[in-house]
Symmetry: C2
């Protein structure tokens, strides 16, 4: 997502210079070739000179440790943010690192895909999508409004949520569904039935092709909420089983109808503006 | 799917005349305008005159009752088939109705979508997709080979499965996943969290927009197998919960990796040839 962010900033003329930092020269060169960054460096001081916005586009398991090396060098009035799908621990440690100046606010642009690396990057990734910000009490108002303006300039709708609530919401709408998709592929695969899968199954399991390392970190950082969602799902399954076994076609149909109405309201994944539609 | 079939037969020049039968004049006219049929009729005798292939493209709950009116009128050597997603009861009753001539074989082209009606029809729907045939002991060899040739001429790969096995397989790869998608939409919707859904969620739940009436019939006709799958899923969830709570990152990562490998092997839903790839 860091690659897409660089491309988007450059294509919209929002940054005079996008500097990439990585431990791999190859990745930096690849990002330059792809047009995701203007220059690359291994040197933090160089990366931060006159920098107005520092974005950690890092796997969630690495952000806190990495950030500890950066915060002491961050220029005053440089906004710091990160793009993680889990917030609790990360926002807590980065807020602490940000100190009393606290020009830090967590961001979660909801537009990830199953692709990793700069090859999967797209300059229009953020367009018309939702970005969740997770300010805490200590977050400076000015930092929050700069973060809002930053994502809005990229075409996003911005909503603020407390970090703990963010993680509960994501456990429900993203992390648990991800586990269901992975489980579907493996259970059907273990029974050697994948060759019978149709396009519905392919769509349902697209996200199971995402990077395992990134997702294990996300799931473990949000383990408590994800476990609660798994417990809820056991109850959902029991509810469905009861509907089936009671042969209550009316109830089942009403349940299907409600989902159909809701799903049609959400629009298509490929559509321009699905996450900003009105929903019930 | 009847509309797509008519379009495909006509576009490939496989039929000199495609005749539609329906109880609604409006639907027949719409199908003619869409190029799905050449002529439409309410009259069974007229529909069957010189007809070589009779296809029931009916909701699975209606096929058996409807077929009882047709079989007595079917010309000798007319192949009869249907397109249902569940086979057990339907194949049994249609085989009985087909009598000793038994020019009947069940077909399940695995290329459905969440769309209904002739507006969603596409002449290339069958291209490079899988078609399951469900012959029984009494099925005439000639009928089976004609059905194979029929679907192959439409660009499909054809595989035969016993009806009972077909229904077990579909409970696993299609009917249970459908219930998961519906459940996802409703559980997230009941908690008013649908506005936070990203494209992974949209893809996972696309099929929840399908026709509720059709799906309730499918689920109830395959209720026994679907209930077994639901029971299995309770165990899947317990397995995931244990992996999480034991904090066994290695096991979780290996489980994610296996799914990633398998899912990448399956290709994309939009891809030309996903269901014919090699799988593990």
């Amino acid at each position: 997502m860091g690659g897409s962010l660089g491309m988007a900033l450059k294509s919209k003329g929002l940054s005079s210079r996008v500097i990439g930092w990585d431990v791999s020269r190859d990745k930096l060169d690849e990002a330059i070739r792809a047009g995701a960054i203007d220059t690359g460096t291994f040197n933090r001081e160089e990366a931060l000179e006159d920098t107005e916005v520092l974005v950690f586009a890092t796997p969630v398991g690495a952000t806190s440790a990495l950030a500890a090396d950066w915060f002491p060098l961050v220029p005053s009035r440089c906004l710091v943010t990160e793009l993680g799908s889990v917030k609790g621990d990360i926002v807590e440690s980065l807020t602490r690192l940000a100190g009393i100046r606290c020009y830090f606010v967590g961001s979660h642009p909801i537009c990830g895909s199953e692709k990793s690396g700069v090859q999967g990057a797209r300059s229009d990734l953020f367009e018309n999508k939702l970005c969740l910000l997770t300010p805490v009490e200590r977050t400076r108002k000015q930092a929050l409004s700069r973060a809002q303006a930053f994502w809005q300039a990229l075409g996003m709708k911005v909503v603020s949520l407390a970090p703990a609530l963010h993680d509960q919401v994501m456990a429900c709408v993203s992390h648990l569904p991800h586990l269901l998709a992975v489980s579907l592929v493996n259970e059907v695969g273990d029974r050697k039935l994948l060759q019978y899968a149709g396009s519905g199954f392919l769509d349902m399991t697209r996200i199971a092709a995402a990077d395992p390392g990134l997702w294990v970190e996300i799931i473990f950082l949000n383990e408590e909420n994800v476990s609660l969602e798994l417990e809820r799902w056991r109850k959902h399954l029991e509810k469905i089983l009861k509907m089936l076994q009671s042969k209550d076609a009316g109830a089942l149909k009403e349940w299907f109808r409600k989902a159909q109405r809701r799903r049609l309201n959400l629009g298509q994944a490929g559509e321009k503006n699905p996450s900003l539609r009105r929903r019930r």
